[in-house]
Amino acid sequence: CGFQLRGLVEVAPLLSTLKVTTPDNYSQFSRKLVHSLEANNISVSDQAPYTLKVLSNEQERKVASFSGNAQAAEYRVRLTNKYQLENRSGLVIIGPFKAQAERVFLHEPNNAAASASEERLITEELDKDIIRQIQLRLAALSNTDIENAEAEAEAKKLAEEKKKQPL
């Protein structure tokens, strides 16, 4: 039905080296992101022409359902991540994009520590899902996309600067 084994998908040469910054560059998330990029033939370096900037990496836990006496029965963990691609001078050329991942798990009122263990496991898995979404976005970019977006962003910036100058 038209499915074929995937061929080699090249990363845009402009992104073959990439700088990565996150709210906490030493965090587990940040390291997993770097590992994952490197596994996909993107070498991470501070000298790269473009920066993948993760603006925020938030975790939220809310009650997903209640027991009959209005006590928490299930919790939903939701991770929300905002990221963008910047050029060397810090100009945003693509994004910001939002990546979101969530999952519901059954809460154990009789063993809060066990629920915490499960929540931690789920958070780690959701991190991976977020990284996969970022990865997909980057993989979809071609050199032309990046160059066009950059030219557009530069032009917009120039127009704004002109506007600000007194007449």
């Binding site: 084994l5 596994a39 009959g68 299930e74 999952r103």
Partner: protein
């Protein structure tokens, strides 16, 4: 430097003429003589452009040096006199530029815009600036008085005064203005009939005046407005409002209003707040913000009434203490309970952020059904994040409450009142190593306060140490290691045993039930002690663009040092020793886990309408082998449970959440995921489904001691049935079929579904779907339906104790609808409806209307909710009606604690952030 004055005035018979004035030799007053003195080093104020041409014709030294200005958007003649200014500086929306329109506050039909005038951008002290004056006619007396008549305009620095007539007294450095007086300063407009001005100090007194602050879009009238030397504006018998010129929806009137532009505060004595002209609130003193800075002041009060609390009024007050810290007080009066004072303090430093909060109610007055009648009620919490170095972090998340019922009684949302354990955690994390070899060292203390009246206390980790690392070798090998050392403990009385009625014969209203807790039933659940867990693994990823194969091998080892074991439980072949265990305070288990993960990746291009997608098909197989280590019966259960089964569980190598059970396995998980990915990499649709096939029964059980799980009356679930299900699951040859689906239909509309179907028993274990429609910040619609099959629970008697042998449906089945939707101009409807299908009743029903205008916002909300309690079968509902009135510009929109019940509407918080002034 000395003050130089340059006065321009029209001489007799001429349209314009100029004086040149310099300060007197004694530093008092000034000397103005026509063409008598050269300008020298005199600083010049810019001249109005339309006069520039005329000035050039007169042969004066100064005028010729003025820079001609070509364009003037203001025609002072048109905007002259207060009678010609009925709208002050109000500009309606369609007259604004695009840029200005974006600055307009929500729901406003326009904005106050300062018209262009020369000098409006002047920086510095205006007293140092030269004075520029002009008029149609002028007269200069020998006694040092200059009289100007007709279209007088005086400008000094950023300040500008206009009037029909003016008199300047040289000797006293004062001036009087009469008729249609207009004073402008940046962000200030004063309009009156008569004004007295001290040109040296800048003091001004205006009678029967109106005023306007552009940035805060606030305005008002006063019998007298004084702009003092210190630039504070003091109003006598004045009113104040942020409503547009055509509305007086609310006004604040006061005897003595002071507006301080430096602090951004106003204060008023004997203040009355009127809504639609009707006085609604009086205070002898009020302190309120007057610009868009973060300001101290009253937040929106909430007035309500509910069954248990009675009349309920909260009037939060916000303290803006510094740019990086603030505080909010929430004084709350509840007619039935008394006065609760709640507060929170937030702070932010370059390396830390946090929040300290607490509340206190001395002696709870509520008697009827109140377990805490007459007792002090309080809570305290502290959340803190600290960065010690780039790699080293520290955080605190600590909450403690006076009693189990605190949040059920005082929480304003189900979210808050439904929490059954309060976190009390301290944690530091050090992230070491580099990208090739990264490691993390964590130290934590984790305690819980059990807030549930019907469940056990959790074990606490005091403390926990974890060392975890990951090593990438160049050849594709990956090593992981983890060591966790934790000391677990809990109180002797941790086990929920039931409830007892606490009757007092003389006061039948005090008939309440209280929970009883005691020790557990066997040695394992009572055990305390340390646990050492170590895990080390290696894996190698063979990878092609279209496939991967990852074999991995792990060793897991867990070891305990236990105390509090009861020797009677270990009598050989004794009645309490089903497994014939030996007394062992240091049991241990070691097991290897072999995994083989593999997957293929197919794709194709598909076209849906205009859009092209890449559709993928990703079959995956995970084989897990781990031998059974039967020595785990002696391992306690500290922080472990069976994971909730889900699609993600297929791809894990352990079915337990903690380290107390090392699951045996000989199984293969088969699954397939398909995605539709847009050209730009956005995942539009994803569906995955799969199942585990077991080659052997699972021998390692969470609780091997099923002999004691008889139908204990204290247990409020049906133990027999849950045990049967658990054991059947361990013997089944297949797991339930798990699937997940995510569909981002548009950027605003998304749909999610989880479905778990038990193929062995032919029933749904879980079915949940949710729909989220957020086309913009003001329109939110969320709907979810969740079903989880649970064993029947034991029915409870009137005291809340389980009745053995009587069961009720224990499923979780709920529909949850929440929305905020504009229904007419300025009106939005909002609500939440959370329905418990299992027990055929509403958990929460809330419906409200919100009217939002340029200068105020009002909400009426009716709410009915289950009063969270232990007794499911006879749960009580509580009702409340709440009104919130927000006078925009007289305080921030909302405090976080007041409208908590609106937080149940997913997206509400973002909307409020967005709509803030």
């Amino acid at each position: 430097g000395s003050t130089s004055l340059t006065l321009y005035a029209a001489p007799q018979g001429e349209q314009n003429s100029e004086w040149h004035c310099l300060p007197g030799a004694n530093g008092q007053g000034w000397n103005c003589n026509v063409q008598s003195k050269p300008p020298g080093t005199v600083k010049r104020a810019p001249r109005p452009p339309e006069k520039a041409g005329a000035a050039d014709t007169s042969a004066t030294t100064i005028a010729s040096q003025e820079e001609p200005v070509n364009a003037s958007p203001v025609h002072e003649g048109e905007a002259f006199g207060p009678l010609a200014l009925p709208q002050l500086d109000w500009v309606s929306l369609d007259q604004l530029t695009e840029e200005q329109r974006q600055q307009v506050a929500p729901q406003c039909s326009g904005a106050y815009i300062e018209p262009f005038r020369l000098g409006m951008d002047y920086q510095g002290n205006p007293a140092d600036a030269p004075i520029y004056a002009e008029a149609q006619d002028s007269e200069y007396d020998q006694d040092g008085t200059a009289k100007f008549t007709g279209k007088v305009l005086i400008r000094q620095g950023y300040r500008q005064l206009q009037s029909d007539n003016a008199t300047l007294h040289q000797n006293t450095d004062t001036a009087e203005f009469e008729g249609n007086v207009i004073l402008r300063e940046p962000n200030l407009l004063l309009v009156g009939q008569q004004a007295a001005v001290n040109l040296q100090s800048g003091r001004m007194d205006i009678k029967n005046a109106r005023y306007l602050f552009h940035k805060n879009h606030s305005r008002g009238e006063a019998t007298t407005i004084t702009r003092r030397e210190d630039e504070l504006v003091v109003l006598e018998s004045a009113n104040y409002t942020t409503c547009p010129p055509d509305s007086n929806a609310w006004t604040l009137t006061g005897k003595d209003i002071t507006l301080n532009k430096f602090t951004g505060f106003g204060s008023a004595k004997h203040a009355t707040i009127r809504v639609a002209g009707i006085p609604v609130f009086y205070t002898p003193y009020i302190y309120f913000p007057i610009d868009d800075r973060r300001q101290s002041g009253f937040l929106a009060p909430t007035i309500g009434t509910s069954g248990d609390n009675g009349f309920d009024l909260t009037t939060p007050y916000y303290f803006n203490l510094a740019p990086n810290y603030d505080a909010t007080l929430y004084p709350r009066y509840m007619a039935e309970r008394g006065f609760l004072l709640e507060g929170e303090f937030r702070y932010l430093t370059p390396n830390s952020s946090g929040e300290v909060g607490g509340a206190y109610l001395g002696s709870d007055d509520l008697k009827d059904g109140n377990r805490q009648a007459g007792e002090d009620r309080w809570y305290a919490n502290w959340i803190h994040d600290q960065r010690l170095t780039d790699r080293w972090k520290f955080n605190i998340d600590y909450t403690k409450a006076s009693d189990k019922d605190y949040f059920r009684d005082f929480g304003t949302s189900l979210e808050v009142s439904s929490q059954d354990n309060l976190n009390q955690a301290f944690k530091t994390v050090y992230n070491g190593g580099d990208n090739k070899h990264s490691w993390t060292f964590t130290t934590a203390v984790q305690k819980y306060q059990n807030m549930s009246n019907t469940s056990d206390d959790s074990y606490e980790k005091v403390p926990q140490f974890e060392f975890k690392g990951n090593l990438l070798a160049d050849n594709g090998l990956e090593f992981d290691y983890l060591t966790d050392v934790t000391y677990f403990t809990r109180d002797k009385d941790w086990k929920y045993q039931g409830q007892v009625a606490n009757r007092s014969p003389e006061d039948i209203e005090n008939d309440v039930t209280r929970s009883i807790y005691g020790e557990g039933t066997n040695e394992f659940t009572n055990a305390k002690g340390s646990r050492f867990y170590a895990e080390t693994g290696v894996k190698y990823k063979f990878e092609w663009p279209y496939a991967f194969v990852t074999p991995g091998l792990k060793f897991k080892h867990v070891q305990y040092r236990l105390t509090n074991l009861d020797r009677e439980d270990f009598v050989p072949n004794g009645p309490r020793n089903q497994f014939n265990l030996k007394y062992d305070t240091s049991p241990s288990t070691t097991t290897p886990v072999f995994t083989l993960d593999s997957g293929l990746l197919f794709d194709r291009k598909v076209l849906f309408g205009e859009s092209q997608f890449t559709q993928t098909l990703e079959p995956r197989a995970l084989y897990v082998y781990s031998p059974e280590k039967g020595d785990q019966e002696q391992n306690p259960v500290f922080d472990t449970s069976s994971n909730s089964f889900s699609y993600a569980q297929l791809w894990r190598d352990n079915r337990f959440s903690g380290y107390d059970r090392l699951g045996d396995a000989n199984q293969i998980a088969l699954g397939v995921t398909s995605r539709f990915i847009e050209d730009n990499g956005f995942e539009r649709f994803r569906v995955g489904t799969g199942q585990i096939f077991y080659f052997k029964d699972r021998e390692v059980l969470l609780d091997p001691n099923h002999f004691d799980t008889t139908n204990n009356p204290s247990n409020d679930v049906n133990i027999d049935e849950s045990t049967r299900r658990y054991l059947d699951d361990q013997r089944a040859s297949t797991s339930p079929l798990a699937s997940e689906l995510v569909w981002n239909i548009t950027s605003a509309l998304s749909f999610k579904q989880d479905w778990i179907y038990n193929t062995n028993e032919g029933r749904n274990e879980e079915f949940a779907s949710s729909l989220r429609y957020h086309p913009d910040y003001n329109r939110l619609l969320n709907f979810s339906y969740r079903f989880r099959d649970q064993v029947d629970r034991t029915r409870k008697d009137e005291n809340g104790n389980a009745i053995p042998g009587q069961f009720a449906d224990g499923d979780i089945e709920q529909a949850d609808l929440s929305f905020i939707w504009p229904v007419a101009s300025n009106w939005s409807a909002l609500g939440r409806w959370n329905y418990d299908v299992t027990n055929s009743r509403r958990l929460e029903a809330m419906f409200g209307a919100e009217y939002d205008s340029c200068c105020y916002k009002i909400r009426f909300i009716g709410r009915q909710w289950i009063d969270g309690d232990d007794d499911i079968d006879n749960a009580e509902t509580d009702n409340g009606v709440f009104v919130q009135f927000v006078m925009k510009g007289l305080g921030n929109l909302f405090g976080s604690k007041v409208e908590g019940f609106l937080e149940g509407i997913d997206g509400y918080r973002e909307r409020e952030e967005r709509n803030k002034l």
